[in-house]
């Protein structure tokens, strides 16, 4: 167990070094004055250091600059955003709750619909149920996210007028930003709006989370199907059948529990897919999360935000991967070793 953790932490550190090095190299490639362009401003502390560096004759040393850059990042200083003139880290923290909220609901939808769909397809293998589920998931796999989003807006918001067009909550509500999670914050505004704001926020979540859930749902359903098929063919299931256990118990208790192990790995991998999808989903639905923030930063050539944003996002992805690995080791008895 300890070995798994330490190996993962090594991966994290190396990846962190690698990503920062990558960015640092990129700063050297950009034609403009890299310090200003990538860090948004020249810090006074830096210039004092730079002065010292000149005295020591290491002004041009990339190593020195890289260490300096690393030190800034490790102290949480990603520079200032060019557009808002605010620290990149606080911008990131400002936008991340919206993405997490959306991602959470999307994952929820993907799991609640994906796993049963996969189980249903596996237990009804080669019937119309299986074909239907496989076809639908294949479409979900193939549909361009941005087009899917536009289609849903067109049908449900513009044509049928049952869901809001975009955004996190109606503009008529004045919600104090406490946690950044709209569902929580709108509940905290209960004295003012009772539940009206909360339900409004919930309504705004429907379409974007469906769009964002589509691809992971397809992946999870297909993964569940193949994992279930493998499990159902194994001997202990046959034993269970022979023992006369109910079909329901066999499938949902004995079968699924063992099929879950590979499924969890897949869910872990979804964090990266989800964030990719979030870029497009948030753009379509004017959802003020990190995906939209990144796209805007690129349109505005706000390099400090791009750099800080990507670094933070990849750190999150790595951390999620690590926790999934830990979880995997925890639930998979085969990986546990006698102490």
């Amino acid at each position: 167990m300890l070995k798994v953790i330490s190996r993962q932490i090594l991966v994290l550190i190396l990846s962190f070094l690698g990503i920062t090095l990558l960015f640092f190299t990129l700063t050297q490639l950009t034609p403009d004055d890299s310090n200003v362009v990538w860090q948004g401003h020249v810090r006074s502390a830096d210039s004092a250091l730079a002065q010292k560096a000149i005295e020591l004759g290491v002004d041009d040393s990339y190593v020195y600059q890289y260490i300096n850059y690393l030190r800034n990042i490790l102290s949480g200083d990603f520079g200032l955003s060019i557009t808002s003139n605010r620290p990149v880290l606080s911008e990131f923290l400002n936008f991340i709750p919206a993405t997490l909220e959306l991602g959470f609901f999307a994952t929820l939808i993907a799991l609640i619909l994906g796993i049963p769909a996969g189980v249903a397809a596996a237990t009804n293998k080669n019937t119309w149920v299986d074909s239907l589920i496989m076809t639908v998931t294949l479409i979900g796999y193939s549909i361009p996210v941005f087009w899917w989003g536009m289609l849903l807006i067109f049908v449900f918001s513009l044509f049928l007028d049952i869901t809001p067009v975009a955004g996190r909550i109606s503009f008529i509500f004045d919600i104090d930003k406490v946690t950044g999670f709209m569902l929580v914050d709108s509940l905290l505004a209960y004295p003012k709006y009772q539940l009206a704001a909360f339900f409004d926020a919930l309504k705004h979540l429907i379409l974007p989370s469906i769009v964002l859930a589509t691809l992971p749902l397809a992946v999870i359903a297909r993964m569940t199907r193949s994992a279930m098929l493998e499990v159902l063919a194994s001997e202990y299931i046959l034993t269970a059948k022979a023992k006369g256990l109910s079909r329901f118990r066999i499938i949902w208790v004995h079968g699924l529990r063992n099929a879950l192990i590979p499924i969890i790995t897949v869910i872990g991998l979804q964090s990266s897919i989800l964030l990719t999808g979030a870029v497009l989903t948030e753009t379509i639905f004017a959802w003020p999360g990190i995906g939209k923030w990144m796209v805007e930063a690129i349109y505005r050539q706000d390099y400090p935000s791009i750099q800080g944003g990507i670094l933070l996002i990849s750190s999150i992805v790595i951390l999620i991967n690590i926790s999934i690995d830990l979880l995997y080791a925890f639930i998979n008895p085969r990986l546990r070793k006698p102490v």
Binding site: G18, I19, P144, V145, L151, I153, L158, S272, V317
Partner: protein, 297 residues
Amino acid sequence: MNEIKLYQETHIPGPWEEFWYQYKQHKAAMVGLVCLLIIVLLAFIGPMLIEHDPTVQFSESLLIPPAWEDGGSRMFLLGTDDLGRDMLSRVAYGSRLTLGLAVIVVFIATIVGVVLGAMAGISKGPVEFIILRLMDIFLAVPSLLLAILIVAIIGPGLLNTIYAVAIVLVPHFVRIVRAVIREELDKEYVIAAKLDGSSPTRLFLISILPNILPPLVVQITLSFSTAILDIAALGFLGLGAQAPNPEWGTILSQSRDYIQLAPWTVAAPGLAILITVLCINLVGDGLRDALDPRGSQ
């Protein structure tokens, strides 16, 4: 001359024959294959059959609906966009552009991925370590963000889209190739070849490469659909192919303004992407099952 069969011959299918036999079993995959062939064919000859140039603007015919709707014209089967350009022609030329780009992207990614993967797989130690960690880093950044980042640095445009999407695809190839090589290296026939004194290059070409092919082919098809989706996404965000290139994603980003008034300008390119990617994925599914009989049983 008649060949006289003296013996009751049992025909043992070769690997390709076997593969084709397996693939044919898969009905959906056959549909996908046929559909994909039609799309490729259309991309090649389609533009020749269409009378309008995709960039010519008929300033008298702006936002004409498709021919089967009220106000449609037989001149423009799928209607026109807001500059009076023929949608059918734009989508048809777009297929050439999108498919062509995707082929180039996947080609580059495959070559680079296989070379790096082989290097990582055959040589142990620092080379492997560096390559793998590098790929880890690339995998840690969500793919579209990575592509966007690359485009942000080198600037938008057709060529840069190719680099960006190819770089995103490389790590998957590296991982697969390395994994297969590792598996094969431990097998006895390879050890035997090694003991016979095969050079690493020879070992790779003769013993290992044939075993990589099946998973590689599957990965190539998967990458092909990813490439199309990513190219379109970049185009949609305004960071990929630039107007007036009729790249599907680029068309979509431009026609988004007219979704309420001219839904056909949004429907046509979107459907084109969906159908193409769907067919490729069908073929990919079929290939996987046919190449990996274990999964299909």
